[in-house]
């Protein structure tokens, strides 16, 4: 059973967020290790800024950076990483989502993983072998911190900690993996295991956007995903990549939550209703039948 720390953070300011993250670490008895190079992977799925609940709040990352510098060392080298995707380019996302300003204010580097040195790596999931380029910056980091959001996703039901690592794949045409998305998510997590997962649930996007004020931390991405799924009203056992990740030894879907009761967040989370589920199903069917090409 994996430990997940859960804390409510009611206000959106660096000090409050930092306090909440620190408390979440304490709840799971996590001590930050000695480190010279740290990589932080926020979620930047598209040009939706933090206020939509779709992407990691730069203020959340600023608070995390403050905490890492206080706890580890003031001169620790921190890089915020993301890669180009089918519909998103890092050079615009960094600027548009407020990360360029954050990098300047906090003196950290912004790294486009699609434009840095990477090494080939092969990884097996079930009976299928995948080959990816692993960015050297991730391989060489002393500490890799994943800072996901919690969202519904058409093809994988949920997008939380495991899915966020999909964005560490430097190959930009990510839509090409959509037919094998579940296996690819697990494969990427196997080839680039992150040490720590700190979920930014301050503002979330479900059926609508809501200030949920949730901060979660765990060393187990599968457990974070399982807790998030419960809050979102999704049965973790129905999430294929979660089941697969557990089978591949990436973590456990059985969890113990310490701190704020997840029922409190579950009741408030803006869950999808029947119509939203029908839209998702309809869209998936349209994609399978090739009818999505008719949509402009």
């Amino acid at each position: 059973m994996s430990l997940v720390g859960s804390v409510e953070c009611k206000t959106r300011d660096v000090d409050s967020i930092k306090r909440a993250i620190r408390e979440a670490f304490n709840l799971i008895d996590y001590s930050l290790p000695e480190a010279k190079k740290i990589v932080i992977k926020p979620n930047m799925c598209y040009y939706w800024d933090w206020s939509t609940g779709q992407t990691t709040d730069p203020l959340f990352v600023a608070a995390l950076i403050d905490l890492l510098r206080e706890e580890i060392s003031s001169d620790v080298e921190i890089s915020i990483v993301e890669s180009d995707a089918s519909a998103m380019k890092c050079k615009y996302a960094f600027k548009y989502l407020g990360y360029e300003k954050l990098a300047k204010d906090c003196n950290v580097d912004l790294v486009n993983l699609s434009a840095v040195e990477a090494e080939k790596a092969t990884v097996k999931v079930e009976d299928e072998v995948f080959e990816f380029m692993v960015p050297k910056i991730i391989r060489d980091a002393d500490l890799c911190v994943n800072v996901p959001k919690m969202k519904y996703m058409i093809f994988t039901k949920i997008s939380v900690a495991l899915k966020n690592i999909y964005g560490c794949n430097p190959y930009p045409k990510k839509f090409e993996y959509h037919s094998k998305l579940n296996k690819v998510i697990v494969a990427l997590n196997k080839v680039m295991p992150f040490d720590l997962h700190v979920l930014d649930g301050l503002t979330v996007c479900g059926s609508k956007t809501l200030r949920l004020g949730l901060v979660m931390a765990s060393q187990d991405p599968v457990a974070v995903d399982a807790v998030a799924a419960k809050i979102m009203g999704v049965n973790p056992k129905s999430v294929v990549h979660l089941k697969l990740a557990e089978e591949e030894g990436l973590g456990k879907t059985s969890f113990a939550v310490k701190g704020a009761n997840i029922d409190y967040f579950r009741k408030r989370f803006p869950r999808r209703g029947f119509s939203e589920k029908a839209i998702t199903l309809g869209y998936r069917v349209a994609c399978k039948l090739g009818l999505d090409k008719r949509l402009v």
Binding site: C45, Y46, Y47, W48, D49, T52, S86, A87, M88, K89, Y92, K95, Y96, G98, E100, K101, I154, S275, A278, I279, G282, Y283, A286, L291, K293, R294, L295, V296
Partner: protein, 322 residues
């Protein structure tokens, strides 16, 4: 008819043209071969990656140009010199000089020229004009126009699926401006339709997303008729609001464009029907075709008209306040 440029709006125009009985789409052009397949799937036979080749076709009377703004002048003038009637997407051009060159080329080559302003065909805005003209609002003293949307960061009309943002959108040199140029031209065109010519304009430009062009703007326009208007435009919202409010000495009235839900839009697209959102686009093309075929001389969306919108926008940029 030929369609030049098959981005989001080019595809909409192509589908709309195909649904009009009085139009035969004979060709399409786009720099992307992959994108041209979209037109091929709809039965368009002659496909070009260079629009100059399309313009040489003899059996082509008119073209719809839906290209990035920096290509408007070159493409429109070339088309006019080849004797084609031209429907050009808004904004007319990225600056007044290019706008004047296009308008002058249309006159010189004696071709029909129309600039796309779909909001002029939205029933709610047409009705607002009727209410105003009936006198029931009295003398209009103030107006408010708003067009707040996601700008280039929009998704497919029917879903939350993000679409890649064409890079030219994010280059001020190629667009001539940001949200004020992109959305402001719609609102200024509507307000000029309601209130007449603008006498003066000031703008406050906003930069929420840290680009070197504005992603939102507020303009204050003084009209020659004595009325004043505030125009708010922005690229920051996932849920579009497009509307005009008129305040007169007797009463006030408002009109908002409200397209149907994403689900209805998706179903209609899949069934090959025109969703409500695209009906104004269909009407404007229909108007263009009627203007060419019937030669009745009426063209409320002339190049000269669009040039005046552009002049107001450029003046607003010059008169920006901090």
């Amino acid at each position: 008819m030929g369609v030049i440029g098959l981005g989001f709006i080019g595809k909409v125009h192509l589908r709309n043209c195909l649904s009009l009985k009085s139009v035969k789409v004979v060709a399409a052009a786009d720099t992307s071969k992959k994108t041209l397949n979209y037109a091929r799937d709809f039965g368009v036979k002659q496909l070009f990656t260079d629009y100059h080749e399309l313009l040489k076709l003899k059996d082509l009377d008119a073209v719809i140009i839906a290209l990035p703004t920096h290509l408007h002048a070159d493409c429109a003038i070339n088309a006019m010199e080849e004797g084609k009637h031209v429907f050009l997407e808004k904004p007319l051009a990225r600056n007044v000089k290019e706008g004047r060159e296009i308008v002058s080329a249309a006159r010189k080559n004696d071709v029909k020229f129309m600039v796309g302003y779909p909001l002029r065909f939205v029933p709610e805005f047409v009705d607002l004009k009727s209410q105003m003209e009936s006198g029931m609002l009295g003398d209009i003293q103030m107006a408010h126009a708003v067009d707040v949307a996601a700008g280039p960061f929009f998704h497919r009309a029917e879903s939350t699926t993000p679409r890649p943002v064409p890079e030219w959108w994010l280059n001020k040199e190629l667009t001539g401006g940001g949200a004020l140029m992109d959305l402001g031209c719609h609102m200024i065109n509507l307000l000029r339709w309601y209130l007449g010519e603008a006498a003066d304009v000031k703008a406050r430009l906003g930069y929420r997303f840290n680009f070197d062009f504005e992603d939102y703007a507020t303009c204050i326009i003084d009209f020659e008729c004595g009325a004043s208007a505030v125009v708010n435009v922005g690229w920051f919202s996932q849920n579009a609001a497009v509307g005009v409010e008129l305040f007169g000495t007797m009463s006030y009235a408002r009109a908002y464009f409200s397209p149907s839900s994403k689900v209805v839009t998706a179903i209609k697209l899949i069934l090959g029907k025109t969703p409500k959102f695209f009906i104004p686009y269909l009407k404007e093309i229909s108007h263009f075709v009627d203007y060419i075929q019937n030669d009745n001389g009426e063209n409320p969306l002339s190049g000269e008209n669009a040039l005046r919108d552009l002049e107001v926008i450029i003046k607003a940029y010059k008169n920006k306040v901090k």
